[in-house]
Amino acid sequence: MNTEETGRPVEILLVEDNAGDIRLTQEALKDAKVRNNMHVTRDGVEAMSFLRREGKYATAPHPGIILLDLNLPRMNGREVLAEIKKDPNLKHIPVVVLTTSEAEQDIVECYGLHVNCYITKPVGLGQFMKVVKSIKDFWFTMVKLPENQ
């Protein structure tokens, strides 16, 4: 995996229904200087279709990381997480839950479903930028992941 201006851009799947958050994440990634191809699905069903390359997603790339919100229409983040981690073709993809929920119950449940990491969206813009940068530093730089299939 490579980052910065060199190498292949990172394929990111962002599962988020809030346009403001989508844009904010894009801005943050831009600020963190991550070369990326960001794909966005607005609900859980869409996300699963994307990952399984169903219908209009037949040619969708295999994402290197999934940023998942928990509160989603149709199929919520916990269900998406459970589906991914049950699927032998998908379960190796790191899933970062990025949510506003600080509820202990959500945290415990997500780790129970083998989430790779759980991050609470900070309220302030500055902290949010920092969080996205940390994700980039950790998952895109430090962590060694299997090569994309």
Binding site: N18, G20, D21, L24, E27, T100, K121, V123, G124, L125, G126, F128
Partner: protein, 506 residues
């Protein structure tokens, strides 16, 4: 003197004077002296014998004959006299005998009489005794009647159903309340099986059986079916009735009409449920709304910040100022929502109460406030603190809020000092957090504990005005009270109470 010549003339001889003259005349002439004397003396027999020696003249013979006849007559008279005497004698004897007999029988009678008297006396005594016992019985009967009346009055004065049954559960007595509540008369009820008057006869019978086996039953709930078909819930209490020998003779039971109680209980339950529900709802509402409010606010805040970062100095001075206000407003609102969340969490995230060592709680609060304490140069001291039952994290927050409050409202001209102590008062601990800060006008003693109530402008003292409200909520959740005593310009002391566990030590 008349001469007797014919028997006819002798008639007067019956007159003794005549006879005597005649006889003496005759005697003096022809009768030897001795005979005459005899005759005179009346010894007629001897005289007659002497007379035989007399040479009688015919008339004299006639006289003699007459005399004999007279003699015979006299003799006969005498005989008759004697026989009469004898008869009298016999009569007297028989009278005597009778008298003796009478006396004997009299004596006998006397004895009998005595006996009779004795038995009479005995009888009298018995009668007296009988009378006494009769009186006694009368008294007892009266007493019995009185106690019976008393019992009846007692039974009838009761507002509760009171009834007695035999060991089989057949009603033997009821009071007026039973008649009133059931609608049946006493006459109708007595002799009927107890269980017949309830919605669940088996349960009613089981109530009696339980009393019989366990001696008593209490607060056994049953439903009476009244004569007009209404159902009255009652709480039944029963005790077995025993003879002095211990043999069970029946069951006495009372039953209270608990319809009103039930209704009130139901009402109370509903109200409590409603209250509970609305409380939970309110808590959830506060939590959810403040939580959900955060989402759009995050957008406002993030994008105004983005605006400020990327466009500062690129628009005009007005734009910069407007953006600055927008950012400030969003930030403040964020602080309020966060505090509101914290406030609603006090009751939404309730955990079990555990023994909580307030010394450790104090240390944690102090560690959390380390920066503020150092920066302000505050000296925090404390007395030994107890272990109480509570939620540790909430206690940390309680201590932390009170201490940080004291630091915030310190007086700059004096070293800020805070002292924490706990004192036993009755069955609770009274904690105090004393400072030497600016103090609080007594007018605001209550208001400071209300959410978002502030006494100072936010330029001088930051904060949303939730800290003390959270303290109050925490203390209330632990069953205590919180209040403040203060002298403006000299300092404040916040007090709160927490129930003692009973076994805690300092």
């Amino acid at each position: 003197m008349q001469k007797i010549k014919t028997p006819h003339d002798a008639r007067g001889l019956l007159n003794m004077d005549t006879r005597a003259v005649t006889t003496s005349d005759a005697m003096s002439q022809r009768v030897p002296a001795r005979a005459a004397q005899n005759i005179r003396r009346g010894h007629l027999i001897r005289g007659m014998r002497d007379i035989g020696h007399i040479e009688w003249k015919p008339w004299e013979q006639e006289v003699a004959m007459m005399q004999r006849i007279g003699e015979q007559q006299r003799f006969g008279t005498a005989n008759r006299f004697y026989s009469t005497l004898e008869r009298i004698q016999a009569l007297l004897e028989s009278v005597h005998e009778s008298e003796q007999k009478l006396q004997a029988s009299n004596e006998e009678m006397e004895a009998t009489n005595e006996e009779l008297q004795a038995s009479n006396e005995e009888m009298e005594a018995t009668t007296e005794e009988l009378q006494a016992s009769n009186e006694e019985m009368e008294a007892t009967t009266e007493e019995l009647e009185r106690s019976n009346m008393y019992r009846q009055t007692l039974m009838n004065s009761m507002l509760d159903i009171l009834m007695t049954t035999d060991p089989e559960g057949v009603i033997t007595e009821v009071n007026r309340a039973t008649e009133r509540i059931s609608g049946y008369t006493r006459q109708k009820l007595i002799g009927q099986p107890f269980r017949k008057f309830f919605t669940d006869p088996e349960r009613a019978q089981a109530g009696i059986d339980e009393a019989l086996t366990k001696n008593e039953v209490s607060n056994y709930e049953l439903m009476v079916v009244t004569k007009d078909g209404r159902q009255v819930p009652v709480s039944y209490n029963a005790t077995v009735v025993r003879e002095p020998s211990g043999k069970i003779t029946g069951v006495v039971g009372s039953a209270r009409d608990i319809a009103e109680l039930k209704q009130a209980e139901e009402q109370k339950r509903l109200t409590m449920e409603e209250l509970e529900r609305s409380n939970v709802e309110l808590g959830q509402f506060a939590y959810v709304s403040s939580h959900d409010l955060q989402e759009p606010l995050r957008m406002v805040s993030s994008y105004t910040q983005l605006l400020a970062e990327r466009y500062k100095g690129k628009l005009d001075a007005d734009a910069d100022e407007f953006i600055a206000y927008a950012v400030d407003g969003a930030n403040r609102m964020q602080g309020m929502i966060n505090d509101l969340l914290a406030y609603s969490r006090v009751s939404t995230e309730s955990k079990e109460f555990k023994p909580t060592d307030c010394e450790a709680v104090f240390e944690r609060a102090l560690a959390n406030l380390e920066g503020a304490i150092k920066e302000s140069g505050t000296v925090v001291t404390h007395d030994p603190l107890p272990t109480v039952m509570g939620e540790t994290l909430q206690f940390v927050q309680l201590f932390q809020n009170l201490i940080s409050n004291a630091i915030k409202f310190r007086r700059e001209e004096e070293t800020s000092r805070i002292h924490i102590s706990a004192e036993q008062k009755g069955n609770e601990w009274v904690f105090s957090v004393r400072d030497n800060g600016i103090g609080i006008d007594p007018e605001y003693k209550e208001r400071i504990f209300v959410v978002f109530q502030r006494l100072h402008d936010k330029e001088k003292y930051s904060g949303t005005g939730v800290g003390l409200a959270i303290c109050k909520k925490i203390v209330q959740r632990h069953g205590g009270k919180i209040w403040v005593e203060s002298e403006p310009g000299r300092g404040s002391t916040f007090y709160f109470t927490i129930a003692r566990r009973g076994d805690e030590q300092l």
